[in-house]
């Protein structure tokens, strides 16, 4: 029983990381209809921004966190302007977007390796506030990391704020309209170009948050974007384009993974998660909560 509860906690904590990352994929997909594979690299940059703000500039944690999110929002928008806008202007097929996104990802990852270097960095514990520092809280028989609690709370706050923003504000409604039909929205007077920039900025800012938290929990290293593949699977699982779907998909995927490796074997874990992806794409391509039945890639 103790082991079951511990694995449950492990799963939820991994799920909340997946969720923060998955939302970025979903958000861009809902507007642009392509999977922004550069997102993982932006997350990695976010971790580095946070790390350097804290260590090189010596800023307080809250400010470093905020600047990291701003930095990645900017990077995401720059990527959109430089790499995707020219394609959009030429009405290139969606496949081109995906290839460009992958190219951007490889470019950023290797750029970091070439400039900052491949050695993993560790967030200086002494510079972190109490609530996110190492150590565990004992809840009965279960050990819960403080970082995990903080991550879960921050993830929930970010996602609730985002869902509120999209459902209850005028700009949010404009994003929904653009996601529904970009041409018609433009005809109705919505500045779709601005909406696209905004969506990339929000996705980027969430990537920054995810990156810093991930960096604190594990390490900061250039191959971080590899891990975000899992969150992409989670996004597809939950339904690309749906925010609650991204959250649900992430939690489910992480729980399945944890229980497979905890009760069956670690070797089977990835076989399971990719089987779920394939099965989902065959049986219900729109994911658990996805709405459209368009191409997923």
């Amino acid at each position: 029983m103790a082991q079951f509860l511990q694995q449950l906690v492990n799963g939820i904590s991994i799920g909340s990381i997946y969720a923060l990352m998955a939302v970025g994929y979903s958000l861009v997909y809902s507007i642009m209809n392509f999977s922004n594979f550069a997102h993982g690299s932006v997350i990695m940059l976010g971790a580095y921004f946070g790390y350097f703000c804290l260590t090189l500039l010596g800023l307080p944690f809250g400010l470093a966190f905020f600047l990291a999110a701003c930095g990645t929002a900017l990077v995401a928008v720059v990527i959109e302007r430089l790499a995707y806008k020219p394609l959009r202007d030429r009405k290139a097929p969606f496949l081109y977007f995906i290839i460009t996104a992958m190219g951007m990802s490889i470019f950023i990852d290797n750029g970091v390796i070439a400039t900052i270097g491949p050695t993993p960095k560790i967030f200086p514990l002494a510079r972190l506030p109490e609530f996110i520092r190492g150590g565990t809280i004992k809840l009965g028989v279960v050990e819960v990391g403080r970082v995990d609690v903080a991550m879960f709370v921050i993830t929930v706050i970010c996602l609730v704020a985002l869902i509120f923003f999209i459902d209850y504000t005028r700009v949010g409604k404009a994003i929904q309209a653009t996601a529904y039909n970009m041409k018609a929205s433009a005809l109705m007077g919505i500045n779709t170009s601005f909406i696209i920039i905004l969506v990339f900025a929000i996705g980027g800012a969430l990537a920054g948050v995810a990156g810093v938290l991930y960096g604190i929990k594990y390490q900061v290293y250039p191959q971080m974007s590899g891990i975000t593949m899992k969150s992409f699977i989670a996004a597809v699982f939950g339904g690309l384009g749906s925010l609650p779907g991204a959250l649900l998909g992430s939690l489910l995927l992480a729980l399945i993974e944890t229980f497979v490796s905890g009760y069956l074997s670690t070797q089977l874990r990835d076989i399971f998660s990719f089987l779920i992806l394939i099965a989902m794409l065959v049986i219900r391509p729109s994911g658990i909560m996805g709405k459209s039945m368009e191409d997923k890639a």
């Binding site: 511990q6 991994i14 993993p120 190492g134």
Partner: protein, 388 residues
């Protein structure tokens, strides 16, 4: 415009051609490959730094005297990203394009095993630095790879030392193993530990694993916790060992961790949460005492030149290159086939101990060192001279 572009293209091709084909009469080219990027890049960079430093030293002293001629040394180094496919590519490039006389490096068994056929076919000797899996020099069917050598002891010995120490010295009876499932180094060492530990009378109560590249180890660690071992053997690389140790402590796993030569690194203790944290008091088997007197000259020279501490791989690749140079001098030849013959009778004193190449192209009778993590240091606990 088009003509100009074509002209430019031709000019580029000519330049590239010249750069590739230039081979000067009195220079020996020695190849190196290993990870410059990727997870184990720290070690690969330490190796390349070391061989370059040694080449500079040789050249500053006028060169290497082979027979009656003196040669300058040129190191041709390539990044294999710690990836087996990439290792095969660069091995082909070194042997066929750069025409190196010998190669050192290939630090991981995962990279050194697949390149063996290439070196055998090209008849160029490779001296591996830290590839400890037996299959690097001896094929699956039991025949020796004629052109594969190494400077390190092998995993069966390392696993035996770890098992012996855990059972006899620490009096542990129930061990758990936590390994990297997709790395022959890790799975091999795990198996040798298990065999020896069980032969001594111990029991392996849990054997859990993860895939390389992973950062969250809590699911398999929770399983290990439930098995209640009294010692945990972790045959993995430092970049996983550090975080895994931290996560294990977080889950309330307080048992001693024991490891192999994948542990020693500048970053190990930092990754585990700093001095005195998760790895305090844990032990690992190493190829030398990196803080000892034998290692001092090289440690100081490396530190002065690169302003970084030398890694285990620096010392290992140093001895690998020393073996190649010694072989050339004894063979009085810079032909790869002659170097190969001389390497199989290698008998020299390196920084990491006495290296006498045996019939399987492995050094026989090398001493293993048991090192303990204490505070910010890795201190010598005990040394094990091979007795069989």
């Amino acid at each position: 415009m088009r003509a100009f572009l074509y002209g430019l293209l031709v000019a580029c091709l000519v330049l590239v051609g010249c750069a590739g084909g230039g081979s000067k009469g009195d220079t020996i080219k020695i190849g190196w490959f290993g990870p410059q990027t990727g997870d184990s890049a720290l070690w690969g960079q330490a190796e390349l730094n070391t061989v370059k430093m040694m080449a500079d030293d040789y050249n500053a002293a006028g060169g290497i005297k082979v027979g009656s001629k003196t040669y300058k040394v040129e190191i041709v180094g390539y990044d294999d990203k710690g990836d087996s496919t990439e290792a095969v590519n660069v091995a082909k490039r070194l042997t066929s394009q750069d025409k190196v006389v010998a190669v050192v490096g290939a630090q991981g068994s995962g990279e050194a095993i697949p390149v063996a056929p290439i070196f055998n076919e090209a008849k160029v000797p490779l001296v591996a630095s830290t590839a400890t899996n037996p299959k690097v020099t001896v094929t699956e069917s039991g025949s020796v790879n004629p052109y594969m050598f190494r400077a390190c002891f092998i995993d069966p010995y390392q696993g035996k030392v770890a098992a012996y120490f855990a059972y006899q010295k620490l009096a542990k009876r129930n061990a758990a193993i936590f390994m990297t499932i997709d790395d022959p180094y890790s799975t091999g060492l795990a198996q040798y530990f298990k065999e020896n530990f069980e032969k001594l009378g111990g029991k392996v109560v849990a054997q859990e694993s993860y895939t390389s590249g992973e950062k969250d180890f809590r699911a398999p660690l929770t399983k290990i916790k439930a098995a209640k071992p009294d010692v945990i053997f972790v045959p993995a690389y430092y970049n996983d060992v550090g975080p895994a140790a931290a996560q294990a402590r977080q889950l309330g796993i307080n048992q001693l961790l024991l490891g192999g030569d994948g542990w020693p690194s500048e970053n190990l203790i930092t990754l585990a949460g700093g001095p005195g944290a998760a790895l305090e008091g844990c032990l690992f088997v190493n190829h030398l005492d990196m803080l000892g007197d034998t290692a001092k000259p090289m440690r100081d020279e490396y530190k002065a030149k690169y302003d970084k501490n030398a890694e285990l791989n620096s010392y290992m690749v140093h001895d690998a290159l020393l073996m190649v140079v010694d072989a050339m001098q004894r063979a009085k030849s810079i032909k790869s086939e002659d170097i190969q013959k001389a390497l199989s009778t290698c008998d020299i004193q390196g920084i990491t101990g006495h290296i006498k190449i045996g019939p399987n192209h492995d050094p026989v009778g090398k001493t293993a060192w048991l090192i303990k993590v204490s505070g910010p240091d890795m201190k010598l606990q005990e040394s094990f001279a091979a007795e069989d």
